[in-house]
């Protein structure tokens, strides 16, 4: 080989390497694919994954969105979007994942959300020779990187990249100036509200609503009815598929909260609002629409 050709090849490789290091996510390895997952593990595949088991509804959505839907051979019982996902066999509710059910699908890649029980399940799957990858998925910012790496592993980098860019731009949007305030109440006895550490708080901010518990840094917190009343949110947001006021709405002690007393509830369907995913923008638009439609 002529020296100049060698040098070009080397330069190209170096350029690619430098460019990839800037992202810090993946490096094309000669003859294989590799990413670093959120548990700090280096996950390598010889060829792009052909049989993927997804253990989180968001991952299922992403996989279908980037055109890798036909490679999904297993999903959790909760994965209900897009509708095509329902034709994929379920491997249980995934909490914790049934290692046997997953292995029975003969996957070459299993995608898990990073949590204690899932890490343990991943280790067991690895012992069976099945590759696993763990992603954090609590915040809007984590959607982009997860999408990109899924794209690498399934050979759908181009589509993954364009979806990721949409997610990243959404995540980097500054909060819309808020004209309304709300509180997310997920449980009534004891009262549990959503704080800044949660994806829902971010959604609200992008939709132009201020979460009155934004000062609480954890994803959720136990508070008293009085605190909610004192902060006087304009709306009470409830994650539910129905439009029926929650059961505590008629209780006198809850009616001290103005939004409960005046029945200003926002009923947010779980499928769209319950988890961060590719339809985040749609969720934000829907929330904004409802806020503006309310009196």
């Amino acid at each position: 080989m002529r020296r100049s050709t060698q040098r070009t090849h080397l330069a190209a490789l170096l350029a690619l390497a430098v460019g990839a290091c800037a992202r810090g996510e993946h490096v094309p390895v000669r003859g294989g694919l590799a990413v670093t997952d959120d548990a700090g593990r280096r996950v390598t595949l010889a060829v792009s994954a052909r049989r993927v088991v997804s253990l989180l509804p968001t991952f299922t959505e992403i996989l279908f969105e980037i055109g890798a839907g036909d490679r999904v051979v297993g999903r959790t019982a909760w994965c209900d979007y897009p509708p095509e996902a329902l034709t994929v066999p379920s491997v249980g509710d995934g909490m914790p994942p049934s290692v046997e059910a997953v292995a029975a699908r003969h996957p070459d890649l299993v995608v898990l959300y990073r949590s204690g029980p899932n890490v343990a399940a991943a280790e067991q799957l690895e012992r069976l020779g099945i590759r696993t990858v763990l992603f954090d998925l609590n915040l809007l910012e984590q959607l982009g990187p997860a999408t990109r790496r899924l794209g690498v592993l399934t050979g759908q980098e181009k589509r993954a990249d364009s979806l990721a860019r949409v997610m990243d731009s959404l995540a980097s949007q500054p909060p819309t100036p808020s004209t309304r305030s709300l509180v997310f109440i997920v449980w009534d006895n004891p009262p549990i509200v959503i704080g800044a550490g949660s994806y829902l708080d971010r959604l609200a901010a992008l939709a132009g609503a201020r979460n009155v518990f934004h000062d609480v840094s954890s994803p959720s917190a136990q508070v008293s009815i009085e605190t909610i009343a004192a902060r006087d949110p304009d709306f009470v947001a409830v994650l539910t598929d129905s439009a029926v006021p929650p059961r505590y709405a008629t209780r006198p002690e809850w009616r001290v909260v103005r939004a409960v007393r005046t029945a200003r509830f926002l009923f947010l369907p779980g499928q769209l609002f319950g988890r961060p995913g590719p339809r985040a923008a749609e969720a934000i638009r829907e929330l904004r629409r409802r806020l503006e439609a309310a009196p």
């Binding site: 006895n189 136990q222 008293s224 009085e226 059961r247 209780r251 002690e253 001290v256």
Partner: protein, 313 residues
């Protein structure tokens, strides 16, 4: 004299409970504020009643099993309540009363089971059998609870556990009314058992020779104390330490005769729990601590202090 002291402490505690809180209620508006009437007052009253019930129940059970380490929850009631609560949530039972009712039924079920165990082989509620039976029933209930939790949807059940760890955030006038109607009967029964319980401290046979109908006494006291505790759990979850420590504190301060011990433990238990609840909702505002943690943090050093004073004197 002691009742004057307790009454003063009670007034101070109530005042604190009514005036402190995250909502800034100006002093002038206090009497008109719905925050006071619908939230703080029923909550303070309920905490007082539950604390009193737990204190009295603790006195009764310590006398019954003749063991100063007895706590109302030693007899499997908390396990039963937890199981009831979890079943109610797993089955999505409707209505705001589903959870407390189910917890109550669970606690009473555990009580009946331990009672039955205590009668096996003519044991006649032998204290050791009661304690062992309580531990066994509690462990069994906890195991079934864990099984249900592992098979059902996780989030709602996590919230059920938060409820079980104790708290008064759900306090309402309706709840207060329920307790006010329910509690007097077991309390009166326990008050009537005060003298026989003094005798029981000598042992079952000596007590009989001094005129106590020990068989009836044990059954009646066990059932009354358990029913009081079951109601407390149904309304406020499992709040430990009150039933264990308050009887000891009152005994140290005001003697062991039950005629004194029942009323003082009722008042002291109520004061302790109301104070603990006020702390629970103000110390880490806007968040809340589970009340059971605060009762332990407040109760244990108090008890240690009293113990030192008593052993020195």
């Amino acid at each position: 004299m002691k009742y004057v002291l307790l009454a003063a402490a009670l007034l101070a505690t109530l005042a604190a409970a009514l005036l402190l809180g995250p909502a800034n209620v100006p002093l002038g508006d206090v009497l008109a504020s719905p925050i006071l009437w619908q939230l703080r007052l029923p909550r303070a009253v309920l905490a007082f009643l539950v604390g009193g019930a737990l204190g009295a129940s603790g006195v009764a059970l310590q006398a019954l099993v003749r063991n100063p380490l007895a706590d109302p929850f030693l007899l499997g009631l908390s396990g039963g309540a937890g199981l009831g609560a979890v079943v109610a949530i797993a089955l999505h039972l409707p209505g705001p009363w589903a959870l407390p009712l189910a917890a109550f039924v669970g606690a009473v079920g555990a009580m009946a089971l331990v009672y039955r165990l205590g009668l096996i082989g003519g044991a006649e509620l032998d204290p050791r059998i009661l304690l062992l039976g309580g531990v066994a029933v509690g462990a069994f209930a906890a195991a079934v609870t864990t099984a249900i939790v592992s098979l059902a949807e996780a989030t709602e059940l996590r919230n059920a556990f938060l409820w079980l760890w104790g708290g008064f955030s759900g306090a309402s006038w309706t709840t207060v009314l329920v307790i006010l109607v329910y509690a007097p009967l077991p309390l009166i029964v326990l008050a009537a058992a005060a003298r026989p319980l003094d005798l029981l401290a000598l042992g079952e046979e000596p007590a009989q020779y001094l005129g106590a109908d020990v068989r009836r006494l044990k059954r009646v006291v066990y059932l009354s104390a358990s029913l009081l505790t079951a109601a407390a759990v149904a309304v406020a979850g499992v709040i430990g330490f009150v039933g264990l420590i308050v009887p000891h504190v009152c005994r140290l301060l005001w003697g062991r005769l039950h005629r004194t011990l029942f009323p003082t433990a009722f008042l002291a238990g109520g004061i302790l729990l109301t104070t603990a609840d006020t702390l629970a909702r103000t110390v880490v505002a806007p968040r809340e601590l589970p009340v059971g943690i605060v009762t332990a943090l407040v109760g244990v050093p108090l008890f240690a202090f009293l113990l030192r004073r008593w052993s020195v004197s």
